[in-house]
Symmetry: C2
Amino acid sequence: MGAYPDTLVRLIDELGRLPGVGERTAERMAFHLLRVPDAEALALADAIRAVKARVRACSVCATLTDLEVCAICEDPGRQRDLLCVVEQPNDMWALEKVGSYRGLYHVLQGRIAPLEGVGPEHLTVGRLLERVRAGGVREVILATNPNLEGDGTALYLQRSLAPLGVRTTRIAKGIPSGSTLEYASRAILADALDGRRDL
Amino acid sequence: MGAYPDTLVRLIDELGRLPGVGERTAERMAFHLLRVPDAEALALADAIRAVKARVRACSVCATLTDLEVCAICEDPGRQRDLLCVVEQPNDMWALEKVGSYRGLYHVLQGRIAPLEGVGPEHLTVGRLLERVRAGGVREVILATNPNLEGDGTALYLQRSLAPLGVRTTRIAKGIPSGSTLEYASRAILADALDGRRDL
């Protein structure tokens, strides 16, 4: 890139760090930013600054928010006796897109992963237990990911919550809607049979 | 995206304006920027600001540079009697990557496009003629794109340069190296035959 101005090289480098952006794409993006009006390019720069400056963990549920307490925790229309426990804000946002869940959330900020040295003390498990202990919670839905670590985390939480007398449930595992039995893995089919329900 | 913090929504929107970035990709990029250390995210924001603040047209050849006169125009090792005329800085950078051209450039900042109301007066044609008139230029290589408008622009420049007694050449059109005759268009094959050279 010998002929590019240094500032442009720097921009291409920085854009190239974004996920899924190779050198050619980074160049295309940089040229685009060069070409657009200042206001449009600076809006992106400002948006990045704003996110890094203002987005932080909700003091109640630990999701990412630009408020002290996130909009969902503050929403008087949500069912306050139902807590859905997820690993990451993204999981919560994915569930919110479905639109059918009307309870509150608790974001663990990860999952228990002994091989990576991540234990419950690195997550917001303590705050979850406090929330349940404070009362008013009827059911905790464990919506960690359906994989080894997510299942392990759910099991750990179920055992920690048991003495508190709260109902704990786990999201259903089974064959994904829209797929075919033919291409489902053995683990998926085993879950589907295991979790069968009366019609 | 009802559940995302507003600042995050704004960042996703702004990222979504980049070429080739849809909503899902913009989300992935925004989450990435949320996750990386502040320094890395702010480096991108700063690089965007720097490009918009510092990159401008070279006062000699009109390419984009963060200097008053670009590195190529200032390079004492370049052949100063050879001018390669291109439409955009990108074209110049593409030629520079080849590494074999050692002359100087002139960037038109567009091409003559009557249908879009772009005439020679909107381009750096006047400055090109001045550079040639100032003397010291032996050959002008017309390297505008090999399409209708690029060809038209080259023709216009050839006619404008003719009275100045400078040699004007046009880059070769033909079948692209590495391709096959079978899949070349008629226009490409016609150019290839037309431009044949003795071996």
